[in-house]
């Protein structure tokens, strides 16, 4: 082994990571690693604190998807205290969650991922960014910026904050929705849906179709998938059962509370990121590209793959088209982007569906809760994957222990594999350039870590 | 050999009792340790706990608040507020890395000069036993 290629920082992703690729003497890939460089220790420092405060603390695990942590946490606290929110409270929580998905998907597709496609993987790094898009297609850039702002603003106006939210409270929601607020939100969500439909078409026709050559191949690995469905097998983001699907398409459904019976976390001593794997498959853990063991993926592609159908019409139509093209389960890593756009449509439709429910403006938004000893699991589908929080509390209702499996981490092992696959594929005989290294990053970026 | 530890104790003295008792101790020539630096306040209730912490952060080896006997406050219940705050300071000092023995609140009346001197003596001894303030001249988050 004579050379190690180090890509740092990994850019246009959330978080802090580095890729290192070892080349052998022939200049071919011998090994590669995706290092997660920081660790913050939430499992430790939420201990001892009153559980009802935790949903306001764990949001800081991720500033891009704070709503997901907020709601998974509030659900876990509800379970610890043995309370279920009233229907209005639950509707309000789900509305905020799906609206947060909308913002996230616009951000990811247009701000982080699109420069690679619109400006090309080989464009100079100084151009290959949202700034480049601003210059290349100012109208699009403006529209995207406006839609993101609209989404954030709608959430903020109703729920106080869009980033690091506070309105989800143990037992329900902190404020009711007035009729005027509902009207404003409906109007906004209609605009967003319009944009989502545009984005789906634009993404499919103008972006992804132009990269047919790599869509199915770059970073492609064969794995299982994890996501959430309702009892009818329809895609769910806020609640439902977990579905763990093997690469061959067979699956088992289980309640989120049973996650520990299915999932374990593997640790490599070169990364602070833990790697969840499917223990219940009883095949062990291996990131071998040819014979991966215990590896499954989450996030958009996973959810598109595991669900039987989507409950909203436009998204369902798009799902059918997707399946016709790529089958079920689809394994192409870049297909995450496509799946993301389908989900964008679903979340807009789902928002309108929730807003149409008259119970959403009800007065009964929160049950008073009695802090006490308990154990609770809370889960939601975050943009980056299935998010699980589990807490135990003492008789004061203070946290005694916590376990969290964060969306991105499910994909850490697959990402390592995709990096390996892409690198092996692209770097030959010691030849590589900036464009090639960016393509390797693209494989990671598809997962939106 | 370590140079001799010459401690400094900041004492916030209420104008009506602690300060007057210190004046009287002077008149009566009662001798007490020279570590004390008195800061006159109108009422022990005027002292913000942040000041106690600030003094310790700046290297004081001990901080005292001297207020009136209960029921004798010139301002109805300022000394009771000071007592409640003192309980807080007592509890928090360790949070911020100080031995809580470095702080003492005491109540006396303007005539209790001997008591005043005795209390100063007690505090002085305490501070000597504790040794120099470990955080003295150290950035303890007190300055940006």
């Amino acid at each position: 082994m004579n050379t190690t290629i180090s890509i740092e920082p990994l850019t246009r992703i959330e978080g802090h990571a580095r890729i290192s690729i070892d080349l052998d003497e022939a200049g071919n890939v011998a090994d590669s690693r995706l290092h997660i460089l920081s660790l913050r220790g939430f499992e430790q420092f939420i201990c001892g604190r009153p559980a009802e405060e935790i949903p306001r603390i764990v949001t800081r695990i991720c500033g891009i998807c704070p709503w997901m942590h907020h709601l998974a946490s509030v659900k876990a606290v509800d379970a610890c205290f043995g309370v279920k929110p009233p229907p209005t409270g639950a509707l309000l929580r789900e509305l905020c969650q799906v609206m947060a998905h909308i913002n996230d998907k616009i951000l990811h597709f247009f701000f982080l991922a699109a420069p690679d496609f619109i400006l090309g993987p080989d464009a100079d790094y100084s151009v290959r960014s949202i700034m480049g898009i601003v210059r290349a297609d100012p109208e699009l850039a403006n529209r995207v910026a406006a839609m993101r702002k609209l989404g954030q603003q709608l959430l903020e106006e109703f729920a106080g904050r869009a980033i690091h939210p506070v309105a989800g409270v143990s037992g329900g929601f902190s404020k009711p929705m007035t009729k005027e607020e509902r009207q404003r939100l409906q109007q906004g969500c209609r605009t967003l849906l319009e944009f989502a439909v545009f984005a789906l078409t634009y993404g499919r026709d103008e972006v992804l179709n132009k990269y047919q050559n790599i869509l199915q191949t770059l970073g492609r690995i064969e794995t299982g998938f994890l996501g959430t469905v309702d009892t009818n097998g329809a895609m769910r983001l806020y609640d439902g059962d977990l579905r763990l699907m093997k690469a061959d398409g067979s699956f088992t459904d289980f309640a989120p509370e049973q996650y520990k019976e299915h999932i374990k976390e593997h640790v490599e001593n070169w990364s602070y990121g833990k790697m969840p794997w499917a223990d219940s498959w009883q095949e062990g853990f291996s990131m071998d590209l040819d014979r991966p063991r215990g590896i499954y993926r989450t996030n958009t592609l996973a959810r598109i793959n595991i669900c039987d159908h989507i409950s909203t019409p436009i998204a369902q139509e798009a799902l059918e088209e997707f399946r016709d093209l790529f089958g079920r389960p689809a394994q192409g890593t870049l297909l995450y982007h496509w799946a993301r756009l389908i989900e964008l449509v679903y979340t807009c439709e789902r928002s309108l569906e929730l807003l149409a429910d008259d119970r959403i403006t009800g007065d009964m938004i929160r049950h008073n809760v009695q802090p006490g000893a308990g154990r609770g699991v809370g889960h939601v589908e975050a943009p980056r994957g299935t998010l699980i929080h589990e807490y135990t509390t003492d008789e004061n209702g203070c946290i005694t222990s916590a376990n969290m499996i964060v969306g991105t981490t499910h994909n850490l092992a697959p990402m390592n594999m995709s990096v390996r696959q892409a690198a092996t594929d692209l770097i030959k005989n010691g030849h590589y350039d900036e464009g090639i290294l960016n393509r390797i990053e693209m494989a990671v970026r598809a997962y939106d870590p | 050999m370590r140079p001799e530890h010459k401690p400094k104790i900041i004492a916030f003295c209420c104008n009506w009792c602690g300060y007057a008792a210190a004046d009287l101790a002077g008149i009566q020539r009662i001798q007490y340790p020279d570590s004390l630096r008195i800061i006159r306040v109108m009422c022990s209730g005027m002292v913000h706990p942040e000041m106690v912490l600030h003094a310790l952060n700046k290297g004081a080896d001990g901080v005292m608040i001297i207020g009136c006997q209960l029921g004798e406050c010139h301002y109805i219940d300022g000394n009771e507020k000071a007592m409640a705050r003192a309980e807080l300071i007592d509890e928090l000092l360790e949070d911020f890395g100080f031995e809580n023995d470095r702080f003492l609140i005491t109540r006396l009346s303007s005539s209790e000069s001997e008591q005043f001197a005795r209390t100063v003596g007690t505090m002085h001894k305490r501070v000597l036993e504790l040794g120099p303030n470990p955080n003295s001249n150290q950035d303890n988050g007190d300055t940006p």
Partner: protein, 895 residues
């Protein structure tokens, strides 16, 4: 030369040159001429005058006779503690470990002979068993004692017992007493706290004290309530001695030509409690009967009020006003002048001022350092003025003595130099340094440098402050037209201050209308008639009948109170001061069959029946008084103070009318305090039967066929006693005015736990309310008899007159100031202000943005800084003590 220290009750010694006691005014040394070798002629010593750098010792000074022409005299000669030496079988003066309560006071004092440790005088061993014996020289008509109750000894004993217990929680304390006379405001609660603290109260009177063995222990024999003989031993026994008037005072009275009553107390009328038998001579304090501190203070003010109304025409004829040059605005650059005072050699002997001078001179903001021999002498003050002017100094530090004694002087000095008086800071290098570190000059010098650096650091940050003045509206409002309100109104109006008197009903008189006689037999109704006429005829008094207070605002010197009168007219009255005299309310019994059994009546009703000679009274042969009805119970945890005397008085009348009548008084503690004790004694002589009951064993009243029976446990006979009664008189207590809470919140003052108005200080400011310019008197303050209400009314008007006699009042500039840049109206400071001087405020800034702030009412603010200690943003600061200045001092001290 040493002699026993009188202040320490001779328990320690003092020198010929001494300070009388710690709180002496002036706090200066004096020479005991009996002890001084020079003055008593036994030697030629003059060491003190040789040593005094100020030449303050003048051996030629002698007593002088002066003639002072005055319009009125106030006599306050006080009392002496009863001396039990050689009297009774108490062994005082023989047994070392028997002491009096004033001696105990010194033993407990941290500046007393034992520095506050409770040691037996015989061998200085710590006391383990302590006893108090009450009523020594009081309530004991025995030839050596006094028949009256000294009124204060019960509380004194409890207080001393509490302090002793507080200092040593192992100490066993017993109090032997006959009746626990804790009838003052809040005293019963204090008594309960003492019981809670495991202080043992034993109701019995020991026969005497005898030594138990040779180690100084003392034995006391008692008979307990069950009639059993008991023996107990103690280390120390405190005799709770009473108050008495002694010979010099008697002579003074005869010189003044005023009449003394029984037991040599000055005789007064209940209606004019501070007037002596001679016009123009007023008396106050224990001279007219045993009293505690607060009553004495009240009477002091009352005597002043009475004298002031007499001298009204001469007001302000002897006052002069100080003229000062205008203060210059200070230049932008700080130029500090530091004056180092040698104080003769008081400072310079210990502190090396040369070293200090060098270290201070180099400080950046210091432009001049001057050493002076006596900072406070006239020539030095002129030097300061010169230097301020010639060098353009704009901050002054005086390193000398205490600001408590000299700040005012130096403020005036720099003010005379044309500098704002608040640009001054004193460094107390004498009291806090040279005098207390005399043995270590180096340390003292280092400390002096620190103290001056602290002062320099703080003075730099000072800005000129202008003390506000406020015009005083020289009129008063009196709320309540009872005896108290009328008395106050008349006195103020007599002093020349117009008064608006607000009365809730359509007639004047209040609760006084129900009274017939005072405790010493004076008829009340004619007096009330006289008061009514005086009020209605007085040109200075406007009475508002059927009027209620709706709103109140403003501050001392300028209040505006909205009232609604009987015609439903709203009126706003502006006034400089206010007296709250809304009185109380009699409690209606809800026990003992009251309202159900016809023969059970309340005291007030009985009085009426008695006066009109109702057949039930005139034909009655058995009367039972039940005390403490609606007093001293769970809901009314206080003594109503008047009912014991009242029942005893009624009982005496009944007995006098017909000695064959059976009259019983069922009581818990007999509280015929002070000179009223003579009534109790008279009742005993007349054969009134007193039976003690406890709160847990209340008497039971039953009625059967128009025959009423009272069942009560007899503690002496140990069996229930059944009394057939024709009438049962319930000594019902006094309740607070039900409107007190509402009024208190309108005037932004407080009511106490029992619903009476809370005075500013229970001992020292008994008629002041916490808000300047507002006062309280009479039953609104606490239950009390008529003469005490009148005293309080006069006291309140005296206090009000001190304010009203000024055209404008100068406000100290040391007040809380809100920093608009940092205050955001979070409101944390509002509730902590003891004077309710802070209110929320909304403002709109130049950009039209709304901001929340708080506002400080400078009239209410006393500058205590509790707000400053609360504000998390340092946005409220007391002038001269700002957070910034205090922090600068801390940093300078620690540099």
């Amino acid at each position: 030369m040493a002699t026993p220290d009188e202040h320490n009750r001779r328990l320690s010694d003092r020198r010929a040159i001494h300070i009388a006691y710690a709180q002496a005014v002036p706090l200066t040394y004096c020479i005991d001429s009996d002890l001084c070798l020079h003055l008593n002629g036994t030697g030629h010593c003059s060491r003190c005058s040789d040593a005094c750098p100020a030449d303050a010792v003048d051996f030629l000074m002698s007593a002088q006779e002066n003639t002072i022409r005055v319009g009125a005299i106030i006599m306050a000669p006080g009392f002496s503690p009863y001396n039990p030496q050689g009297k009774g079988s108490w062994g005082y003066g023989v047994l070392d470990n028997v002491i009096t309560s004033p001696e105990m006071e010194r033993l407990l004092s941290s500046c007393g002979p034992t520095s506050g440790r409770l040691l037996r005088p015989s061998d200085n061993r710590p006391v383990k068993q302590l006893a108090f014996i009450q009523c020594i020289g009081s309530r004991d008509p025995h030839p050596c004692g006094h028949g009256y109750c000294s009124s204060v000894c019960c509380m004194t004993a409890i207080k001393e017992a509490m302090i002793a217990r507080d200092n040593d929680c192992e100490l066993e304390v017993t109090v032997f007493y006959s009746d626990m006379r804790t009838h003052g405001k809040g005293f019963d609660r204090y008594f309960q706290r003492a019981s809670d603290k495991q202080i043992r109260f034993t109701r019995c009177r020991p026969h005497g004290i005898e030594p138990a063995g040779k180690d100084g222990a003392l034995r006391v024999r008692t008979i307990n309530e069950q009639g059993r003989q008991l023996e107990e031993t103690f280390d120390l026994i405190v005799l709770s001695v009473g108050l008495e008037i002694q010979e010099p005072t008697i002579q003074l009275a005869s010189l003044a030509g005023i009449h003394l009553g029984p037991e040599h107390f000055a005789s007064t009328s209940s209606f004019q409690p501070v007037l002596s038998s001679k016009k123009g001579i007023y008396i106050c304090g224990a001279f007219s009967g045993p009293k505690n501190i607060s009553l004495s203070i009240e009477q002091g003010s009352a005597a002043a009020a009475a004298a002031a109304s007499l001298l009204m025409s001469r007001r302000d004829t002897k006052t002069r006003k100080l003229r000062l040059p205008p203060a210059q605005p200070p230049a932008a650059a700080v130029k500090t002048g530091v004056f180092l005072c040698h104080c003769g050699n008081n400072i310079s002997e210990t502190i090396n001022l040369e070293t200090v001078r060098k270290q201070i001179s180099v400080l950046k903001s210091v432009s001049h350092v001057e050493e002076v021999l006596f900072g406070c002498s006239q020539d030095t003050r002129e030097l300061i003025i010169d230097l301020v002017r010639s060098l353009g100094l704009n901050r002054i530090v005086i390193a000398a003595c205490s600001p408590k004694t000299h700040e005012a002087l130096f403020r005036r000095t720099i003010r005379e130099a044309g500098l704002n008086e608040y640009l001054l800071e004193m460094a107390n290098i004498r009291n806090h340094d040279s005098w207390v570190h005399a043995l270590d000059p180096d340390a003292a010098t280092d400390k002096a440098v620190d103290l001056i650096k602290m002062a320099v650091a703080a003075v730099m940050l000072k800005r000129p402050v202008t003390a506000n003045t406020a015009a005083v509206k020289q009129t008063a409002l009196v709320v309540g037209g009872g005896v108290t309100g009328m008395t106050a109104a008349i006195n103020l109006a007599d002093q020349g201050f117009p008064v608006d008197l607000v009365e809730k009903t359509d007639r004047l008189g209040g609760n006084g209308l129900n009274l017939h006689r005072t405790w010493n037999g004076e008829h009340v109704p004619p007096y009330i008639k006289k008061l009514q006429a005086q009020v209605l005829d007085h040109p200075g008094i406007t009475v508002h009948f059927c009027a209620t207070v709706l709103d109140a605002g403003g501050h001392a010197g300028n209040f505006h109170t909205t009232i609604r009168d009987h015609k439903e007219h709203r009126r706003i009255i502006t006034h400089g001061a206010g007296i709250i005299a809304v009185g109380g309310k009699r409690s209606l019994p809800d026990e003992y069959g009251y309202g159900k059994i016809p023969g059970v009546v309340a005291a007030v009703e009985f009085d009426a029946l008695h006066i009109y000679n109702d057949i039930r009274v005139s034909r009655g042969s058995s009367f039972v008084f039940i005390q403490c009805v609606g007093s001293r119970d769970e809901t009314h945890n206080y003594c109503s103070r008047v009912c014991c005397t009242h029942s005893v008085q009624s009982a005496i009348e009944l007995k006098k009318e017909d000695p064959n009548r059976q009259v019983y008084i069922l009581f818990r503690e007999m509280r015929t305090y002070g000179l009223r004790e003579s009534l109790y004694n008279r009742a005993l002589e007349l054969g009134v039967i007193f039976i003690n009951y406890e709160q847990f064993g209340k008497p039971k009243v039953k009625s059967h066929d128009e025959q009423i029976t009272v069942e009560v446990w007899d503690h002496i006979l140990h069996r229930p006693l059944h009394i057939m009664a024709d009438m049962i008189i319930l000594a019902s207590g006094i309740l607070p005015n039900p409107d007190a809470g509402r009024l208190a919140s309108l005037f932004r003052v407080n009511i106490d736990e029992d619903g009476f108005f809370q005075e500013a200080h229970p001992k020292l400011r008994p008629v002041d309310l916490p808000t300047d310019g507002l006062f309280v008197a009479g039953l609104a303050h606490a239950p009390k008899p008529i003469e005490e209400s009148i005293s309080q009314a006069l006291a309140a008007s005296a206090r009000a007159a001190t304010l009203l006699s000024q055209k404008e009042i100068c406000l100290d500039a040391v007040k809380a100031v809100v920093d608009d840049k940092h205050c955001d109206g979070c409101a944390l400071c509002i509730d902590v202000c003891p004077y309710q001087a802070i209110t929320p405020l909304e403002t709109i800034d130049a950009d039209g943005e709304q901001h929340k702030l708080v506002a400080v009412d400078t009239m209410r603010c006393t500058g205590c800084g509790i707000c400053q200690g609360t504000c998390p943003k340092r946005a409220i600061n007391v002038v001269d003590f700002t957070y910034e200045q205090l922090t600068a001092k801390i940093e300078a001290a620690l540099n």
